[in-house]
Assembly symmetry: none
Homo-oligomer: 193 residues x 4
Amino acid sequence: MRAATKVFARYGYAGATVDKISSAAKSVDRMIYYYFGSKEALFVAVLERLYARMDEAEAALDLDESQPIESLVELIRFVLGYYRAHPEFVTLLNSENLHRGQHIAKSRKARDYSLRAIGITDRLLTAGVAQKLVRPGLNARHVYLLIAAAGYFYMANRYTLSAFLGERIDTPEAIAAWDDYVIDSVLRSVRSA
Amino acid sequence: MRAATKVFARYGYAGATVDKISSAAKSVDRMIYYYFGSKEALFVAVLERLYARMDEAEAALDLDESQPIESLVELIRFVLGYYRAHPEFVTLLNSENLHRGQHIAKSRKARDYSLRAIGITDRLLTAGVAQKLVRPGLNARHVYLLIAAAGYFYMANRYTLSAFLGERIDTPEAIAAWDDYVIDSVLRSVRSA
Amino acid sequence: MRAATKVFARYGYAGATVDKISSAAKSVDRMIYYYFGSKEALFVAVLERLYARMDEAEAALDLDESQPIESLVELIRFVLGYYRAHPEFVTLLNSENLHRGQHIAKSRKARDYSLRAIGITDRLLTAGVAQKLVRPGLNARHVYLLIAAAGYFYMANRYTLSAFLGERIDTPEAIAAWDDYVIDSVLRSVRSA
Amino acid sequence: MRAATKVFARYGYAGATVDKISSAAKSVDRMIYYYFGSKEALFVAVLERLYARMDEAEAALDLDESQPIESLVELIRFVLGYYRAHPEFVTLLNSENLHRGQHIAKSRKARDYSLRAIGITDRLLTAGVAQKLVRPGLNARHVYLLIAAAGYFYMANRYTLSAFLGERIDTPEAIAAWDDYVIDSVLRSVRSA
DNA sequence: AATGAATGAGGGTTCATTCAT
DNA sequence: TATGAATGAACCCTCATTCAT
């Protein structure tokens, strides 16, 4: 299973072969059919596990709503960090989108995971507004999506970005600068006057 | 060639077959070898064309540096609009990153295209600082990357996002709201106090 | 066992899988190995059961030899009816012949079943000759085989015949007409002057 | 193609493997996909060729309608001989019926071949009636089907029949006796009182 | 009597690519 | 420029069968 996640993430759905996966799992290809039924079913299982893990991670966030700004910073760091720590998450989402979300559509479990983080964002913004730290009228979804975009984009395109920018973007310094910039930008964009 | 772009974008590198491409081009598979030599060479050609076209589009931007804020808005709209109008750009970049940028590395031409838009951003920010409209100390790369991230993320994940959010994100209203939010956020983040 | 008969009859020996059979029997594949040892052994068992049942059915025939013509008609109806009621008999015999009778050869029991009906036919013909109703010199085997051929052929080729003749041959009317024709023909062919 | 006919006839549809066929044709399996597209399409092609050949053979029959009885004998010999000379015809028809005629249904060409021999039988019977040699009221289809049944059954079940009867039925003597019996029976059944 | 796990051997099919013409 | 034929290497998946429990 971990092997499958890795292989699908590395080669994409089409590029991943049942054989690559099974030998990565120190098993043989037929066992995949025994346990999962098909390559596609395995992919769905991998995706579900992926979503479940992110859901868990978000559920484990324990942010102090009485300190909305500090908590928002923590949330941003969490999101950026999650993408960074899970490059396979990015790649697999890309694969799934390449297939037009057809696997997520087949999964019942997947429907149960909405994005908890959006609810969290919403509560933080509301608390911030109450404390006059955050301007009203913001849409939590938008705020969250911009944060996610920042984390996602940086990982998803790390190879082509490095090539185009002419310098590596995965050094600790580059990463820290980017994180700081994202945090700063988001805060400036939500703060009240 | 247009056919190849479409097919690679739709199925990914591994999922696209030489036959799908050639029949989409109303030709036969062997002609691809005649003209391009191999599937990989064709993919590189497709990527190069992709970069060249974006380069052209950015080169065609004619922004008024004396109006930095308005021009920045225009630039943001351009970037968001470009991704939106070219979903294959997003998908192909994903493919290329899946392959760890190994094709871009093989291309000589690709090196010539740095991201003009970063230079443009830089000039606009500088002009803005000069007019005291923009706060100093900003890194044009960061500013540009955040804009690109917003455009890219929204397209790249349109299927999974729709599924997770429980509503379509490709309606004109949803798109307009997102664009407005991005513009607003970026402006707030760069404006001088 | 009944499940195996059905599945072998429907898909042929090669087309029938141990799994199809076992799930048709609401069991699991490994139980077949537990009880029969192998797919081939199961097939032999199925064939043996098939022969035994036909043998039983023929043994149950109680024909009045003092009325040879009427009894012959009854016999013909029995044979035609048996094939009709047991399409799997036809299909399985076909399978067995496809395998050149190699399973029947392995079976000890099968040898015990000769075709009782031939003996019956023989007795009826002899009685008929004695009563001057039937011409002498007939070979009971030939008579019986022609009857069997009529029954067998009609069932064995019901799909292709329907296609070639351009009309269904399994309607009650078509069947009744065929049965009557066969009876009439056989009687005409055996009757004395 | 000849190889495919042989292999399908010998092993049945499921039992025949693309590999067996291709190596019987001194080729490799992939060429079958190049020329026919799939195993099933090849099977359909084989069946079509089979029907076409029988159609040709029947078309080549040149029977003298002015001598209806002699011609009918000739027709019977032809039918019995055709099955005998083409055991693969029998086996392939069995395969096709096992699949419920689903391949014949897919074939356009196959529809064009009705059974010419039935027309021939009809004309011979009509001529015979006109000459008062044949009794009226006979259905040419029935007459033909009984002849075909005799030829078919004897070939289709040659292995199991030999086993059950306890003697070989494919010796020249056995065959000649059967043919004579069939001819005699059919003539007796159609002759006018 | 029953079950989970495993395995060797294919089986149909596809794909990128080459070659001769 | 274009086409028919061919080929090595996989690829996804199935099947009969075995083994340990």
